[in-house]
Amino acid sequence: MKGSKLIAMISVFALVGLVVAPGSAVAEERIIIDGSTTVGPIAKAFAEYYMSKNKDVNITVSESGSGNGAKSLINGMCHVADMSRFMKDKEFAAAVKKGRTPVAHVVAIDGIVMVVHPSNPVKGFTVAQVRDIYMGRITNWKDLGGPNVEIVMISRDTNSGTYETFEKLVMKKKKIYEKAEYVGSNGAIRQRVQSTPASIGYIGLGFVDRSVKALEIDGIVPDMNTISSGIYPIARPLFMFTDGYPKLGTHLHRFITLHLSPRGQEIIEEIGFIPVTRY
């Protein structure tokens, strides 16, 4: 039968995949990390750094939002929950009910930076103006000293800690206008802003690069100094939560304290966030 030759070929292909696989690194212990996309870059860089130093551990990182991180930790589905906001009372209560005690580790400090397209002449706002834009009260750049172009507002999805921080620190209980576009991550906001001249968005300090223009808020440039000293108005700590303090000497313990080591701090600074020791 001619078909059988084909079958044989295909099964060989399939088998090659299965046989090659176990040949790759065999990890003994694993650390599962879930949560915020803002903390994601730190977690990913830490994970790769840690795995390169310790061959016997497999660290997986999902970036699915702060709330999801909390949920996974409470359900015992991850060891570390990245969060760009603190745990809510409800989440704490749920965790305690399940016999878990979330312990917060502040890994870095982050500022929320308002960004626009580099072609935008606007230099900065007040917090009140940002609020007005996102409430739909200011809809045109000309009201802010820019050209006569309609503002495209871009917001993080409602599942992010960044969104909730923004809501708390900037919107002050006011609701974001329904015309705002929602995207799933910091990277996506920057991408939308750099490709859309009329847009405005907000991202974590670590995501700011030359392709977008960071705005001054209340006349203060967002940078490492203004944020770590608390002068810049929209700043927040970034957390990793664990269930209880990890047993000393375990991989989890060494991983979760990586941000306190000089190497860890360098990584955080290189990614663009502010190490906690920089006060």
């Binding site: 001619k2 078909g3 084909l6 295909i10 399939a14 995949g17 696989a21 790759s24 990890a27 694993r30 599962i32 879930d34 996309t37 994601g40 990913k44 860089a45 994970a47 790769e48 497999n58 660290i59 997986t60 990182v61 999902s62 970036e63 699915s64 996974s72 359900n75 015992g76 589905m77 991850c78 397209h117 580099p118 072609s119 935008n120 002449p121 000309k142 820019g146 050209p147 006569n148 172009v149 799933g184 991550s185 910091n186 990277g187 996506a188 991408q191 750099q194 001249p197 009329a198 670590g206 995501f207 690069d209 030359r210 392709s211 190497r263 360098e266 990584i267 290189e270 990614i271 663009g272």
Partner: protein
């Protein structure tokens, strides 16, 4: 209507029909062209000396002697740059506060960009992240960076009805009549000697793991994850699907139960993929607790339900295509029904069933929505086969989404995204092509 008009109508109708087909083919080409072209850039590109350095130091690839010669060569070409920078720094030191105010910010920007292009400048301490340890490893990225060094972006705001229009001004004008001005001319002349671009074929892109969050390295964990997920799904779906198909084709009559079954199968095929994802989360993970959190197993099971209808339908067709005479011959020889099916019908329908499996395999490999909540993570090691039972894995489809939207340096790693897209598309299309070829051979045989 007149005959002439009718004929014209007929002809134009034909034209429009053909036009629709052409439009379809064109949209396929438009879709595939950037994917193939830019995806190939992940494999074949011009690497700079930095890439060879990285390969040698990180992975021990390449010949040490050759790379070392190249490094000394490029260091020689770079030295004047570093010297000019040192001279300018000295000039700033002497120039007093007014001078420093005028050039301080501009110079630190230039310095940052030069270190991004060439790697850490002499005297700087070596950074921890790999992305900061080396200069631009790809010549195309190096050229983008070089362009940024040469030109300052300014904007013209004269039109009140639009955003500023980009104007590029040479950066050298900012540093006019200082000791660093000649730097730009020197860079212009010697950039190739400083980077030594060379065409390379990075076939290991498929088989390397990623280094430093996909800035470097390949996509092996993703490829492997996709492989496991798709094969795992088939492992569950194929037996179920074939048995169901046998039942429908050989056992069932036209009872009410069978028509209910058929409605269920087509309904299952119509369930949106994201609903499968929610179901997988609610059932396999939250209720059955088959794994503690996401795992390849949970994802495979979810995908199995998704492809089940496809497998059933196509297998049934294949079984029905087996000539009745075969079955009758077997029966007349005294074989039982079950025996007939196993020893006569299934072997005869095997190629047809195989096509259905191949197509479903492609479908399972490409699905994203069902694995978001059940199996996919953005970073993880390649798994060994027994680890798939309990651990999640990256997968091509999810990581395309993840890298294209969530990564902190989306633009820097465009080539990786396109490379992943190309790999996924190639995988799926190759599977489909195989199926098409097999099918063509069957129908050729059938026509004799």
């Amino acid at each position: 209507m007149e005959l002439k008009t009718r004929r014209m109508l007929d002809r134009s109708f034909t034209t429009i029909g053909v036009f629709a087909i052409v439009l379809m083919a064109v949209s396929l080409v438009i879709l595939l062209q950037p994917i193939v072209w830019r995806g190939a850039g992940a494999f074949i590109f011009r690497e700079t000396v930095e890439n060879r350095k990285l390969n040698l130091e990180l992975l021990g690839r390449g010949s040490r002697a050759k790379v070392e010669i190249e490094i000394t060569e490029t260091e020689a070409a770079r030295k004047p740059v570093y010297d000019m920078m040192a001279a300018f720094e000295a000039e700033m030191e002497e120039g007093g506060s007014a001078f420093r105010k005028q050039y301080g910010r501009e110079y630190s920007e230039l310095r940052d960009m030069l270190s991004e292009l060439l790697g850490p400048l002499p005297g700087e301490k070596n950074p921890v992240l790999i992305r900061a340890q080396y200069g631009r490893t790809r010549w195309d990225r190096a050229q983008v960076k070089f362009h940024q060094i040469r030109y300052v972006e300014k904007y013209d705001y004269s039109d009140p009805d639009r955003m500023g229009v980009k104007i590029e001004k040479p950066r050298s004008a900012l540093f006019e009549s200082t000791s660093i001005e000649p730097l730009f001319g020197y860079l212009e002349e010697n950039i190739e000697q400083m980077m030594l671009p060379k065409l390379t074929f990075y076939w290991r892109f498929l088989f390397d793991r990623s280094f430093d969050a996909h800035f470097f390295g390949g996509i092996w964990p993703e490829v492997l994850g996709t492989f496991y997920l798709a094969l795992g799904a088939m492992l569950f779906a194929v037996p179920l699907g074939i048995v169901t198909a046998i039942y429908l084709a050989e056992y069932a009559g036209e009872s009410r139960f069978v028509s209910l079954l058929r409605t269920c199968i087509s309904s299952l095929a119509g369930v949106p993929s994201i609903v499968f994802g929610l179901f997988g989360l609610a059932f396999f993970i939250n209720t059955m607790k088959i794994s503690n959190g996401k795992s390849v197993l949970a994802g495979s099971l979810t995908l199995a339900f998704l492809v089940l209808p496809t497998v059933i339908r196509a297998s049934e067709e294949a079984i029905l295509a087996v000539p009745r005479t075969y079955k009758e011959a077997a029966m007349s020889l005294g074989a039982g029904k079950w025996h007939t099916i196993i020893s006569v019908i299934l072997p005869a329908a095997l190629t047809g069933i195989l096509t259905s499996i191949i197509i479903s395999l492609g479908r399972a490999a490409g699905e994203t929505a069902p694995i978001i909540f059940t199996a996919a993570v953005s970073v993880g090691r390649p798994l060994a086969i027994w680890q798939t039972l309990s651990q999640p894995s990256p997968a091509l489809s999810w990581n395309i989404y993840n890298l294209a939207t969530e990564h902190e340096a989306v633009d820097e790693i465009r080539h990786v995204q396109y490379g992943m897209v190309l790999t996924l598309v190639a995988m799926v299309l190759l599977l489909n092509l195989t199926a098409i070829i097999i099918r063509a051979r069957i129908s050729k045989k059938l026509r004799g």
